[in-house]
């Protein structure tokens, strides 16, 4: 009886079909929205039809399930005006909506959803430039002692006294990672210190680009210290791109060549503990630094010193003691104070029912 009743119902079309250019995109996209048919529970699907000024008939461009009132047309030609019709389909019955407003797609030249990022970058850049400028005049900027970096000199000295090499692993990410770039900066500073002694260095690389860059950085560091003759091509080694193959190769170097000091500076994954534990077993002094939060506990456990997160990015300034770099560190601290103030303010406002967390969302 119920089925018979259903078959007698004439389905109602969707209403208020609206077409609008998809915001913040490269063009060719139009968003279509509508108010669901009152008979949504009984229908099969909605068909979306499109017509341009050149078309004589409407073109079928896709369909959505019942209960869904949006559709994205990805096949629009920029600057062509279209109208859309949504057809409600139930078996052989079709109910057409009224045509939508005319609409055309076009590419945007600014992503308005990222304006919060732009503002943050501008504020932070201004802070960096201000503190760098200030550092030119104020040469005595205070920087707290970072135990891991203070121990670098000791580690190099120990290796020199023992006549054993120093191992440097610049992480497992390629050069497009900021952690690897920071690691390369630290490598430059450490290589300068090594160049003053007659201590062999082993830099193991997972990626070919980091291999070539680390080679140039170490070579330049030796030249800058007036010891280009001490640099050997064999100091910089390319191993393999395979994650655990790399870990096995570094472990082999640690066991065979017994470095007196190991530096694990950069981004690491699961191999962090494999490397650090093997190094601890060989008795080497170990200094690690990573921004991989999940790997920090492993390094803290197995290494003598660990640079936690942002300390990795402060290391180059700390080691070189260059006032301009130290000025940038001050900007980092002020940036954190600002971020903290914003978080506190947004949290307090949330208690009063004003939710501004979407302001922080990056689209």
């Amino acid at each position: 009886m119920y089925l018979v009743c259903l078959s007698l119902i004439t389905i109602a079309p969707v209403t208020d079909v609206q077409a609008a250019d998809k915001p913040n995109d490269a063009g060719s996209n139009i968003d279509i929205t509508w108010i669901l048919s009152p008979d949504d529970a009984f229908i099969e699907y909605y068909s979306v039809l499109r017509r341009s000024s050149q078309d004589t008939v409407e073109q079928y461009i896709g369909r959505t399930k019942y209960g869904i009132c949006t559709f994205e047309d990805n096949t629009a030609q920029d600057n062509t005006v279209y109208t859309y019709v949504v057809a409600t389909v139930s078996g052989s019955e079709i109910a057409r909506s009224k045509p939508s407003n005319p609409c055309r797609s076009y590419p945007q030249v600014f992503h308005s959803g990222r304006i919060n990022v732009l503002i943050c970058i501008l504020i932070f850049s201004a802070l960096v430039l201000y503190f760098v400028r200030r550092a030119r005049h104020d040469k005595n900027l205070f920087i707290r002692k970072i135990a891991g970096l203070a121990a670098v000199e000791d580690a190099i000295g120990r290796a020199t006294e023992m006549g054993k090499p120093i191992l440097y692993v610049p992480g497992l990410w390629d050069i497009d990672s900021t952690a690897t770039i920071a690691s390369m900066n630290i490598l430059g500073e450490i290589a300068k210190k090594i160049a003053r002694y007659d201590t062999p260095l082993i830099v193991t690389n997972r990626w070919s680009v980091t291999y070539t860059i680390s080679k140039e950085i170490v070579k330049e560091a030796f030249i800058s210290q007036g010891h280009p003759d001490k640099f050997k091509n064999d100091y910089i080694r390319y191993l393999t791109e395979d994650q655990f193959g790399f870990a096995a190769a570094v472990n082999g170097i640690m066991i065979r060549e017994k470095p007196a000091a190991n530096f694990f500076i950069g981004y690491f994954w699961a191999e962090s503990l494999i490397l650090a534990e093997t190094g601890a077993m060989t008795g080497a002094i170990q200094i690690a630094g990573t921004d991989a939060v999940n790997q920090l506990p492993f390094f803290v456990t197995a290494c003598d010193y660990t640079l936690l997160g942002e300390e990795l990015y402060a290391a180059s300034a700390y080691l070189s003691r260059e006032p301009l770099l130290l000025g940038a560190l001050k900007a980092q601290d002020f940036g954190k104070v600002l971020a903290l103030a914003m978080l506190v303010a947004i949290t307090i406002l949330a208690f009063f029912g004003l939710h501004l967390s979407s302001v922080m969302t990056v689209r």
């Binding site: 490269a26 063009g27 932070f124 960096v128 070919s208 560091a221 800058s224 395979d242 492993f298 990015y313």
Partner: protein, 207 residues
């Protein structure tokens, strides 16, 4: 000139890539994909140098008959054989290259990964010695979380799993996020310093 040119290239490319992030226009997307294509080309050239390094390093070890030279010979022979197989017989689903990858390389990688369990045990033994108040707190938190997440944790106290979850979601998450905020600022500052030429360690120093 030796320093100025790389610094100028770094500034121009760095600033243009930041601007590109805010422009969804097809011209901007094409620029981004062109740069990424250049990266692939550069990587290909760098790979030639890197493979050359493998040959020279291990070749020297073999020629000088250094301790463990046999392993160097295995490395070079394996690399050459696999490269030849891949180049001449392809790397498709049923190829010999894939068989070597699936039956030799993957099990070896899995073996290395499996070692992690033993390393965890030895590291945990070292970490969980209550030598100070901090290490005692670490030990206590780890103990509660471990017991809480085990099936029998709820029999010790019905609210123990809930408490373990709270440790993970509140104090642990808060400290992780604190570190991550610091990392974000550090990463942006490092990028800015390099783009603006303030950080020059990658060029060998200040001058």
């Amino acid at each position: 000139m030796k320093r100025t040119l790389p610094l100028a290239i770094c500034l121009v490319i760095g600033v243009s890539m930041v601007i590109q992030f805010f422009i969804p226009h097809p011209v901007s997307l094409r620029y981004n994909s062109t740069i990424l294509t250049w990266v692939i080309i550069l990587t290909a050239f760098a790979l030639i140098l890197a493979i050359g390094n493998v040959f020279v390093h291990h070749g020297n070890r073999i020629i000088k008959q250094q301790p463990g030279w046999f392993y160097s010979a295995v490395t070079i022979v394996s690399m050459v054989i696999v490269a030849i197989i891949g180049l001449f017989w392809g790397i498709g689903g049923q190829s010999l290259f894939q068989k070597i990858y699936l039956n030799i390389l993957s099990p070896l990688a899995a073996t290395m990964f499996a070692l992690l369990a033993y390393y965890m045990a030895s590291a945990a033994y070292r970490a969980f010695k209550a030598r100070s108040i901090e290490s005692f707190m670490l030990l206590a938190a780890a103990f509660i979380v471990m017991i809480g997440f085990m099936p029998f944790g709820q029999y010790i106290h019905p609210r123990l799993p809930e408490f373990a979850e709270w440790i993970m979601q509140v104090p642990n998450m808060a400290s992780k996020r604190g570190i991550q905020i610091g990392i974000a600022f550090g990463a942006i500052a490092t990028a800015l310093k390099i783009i603006l030429g303030i950080e020059r360690s990658w060029l060998g120093g200040k001058d």
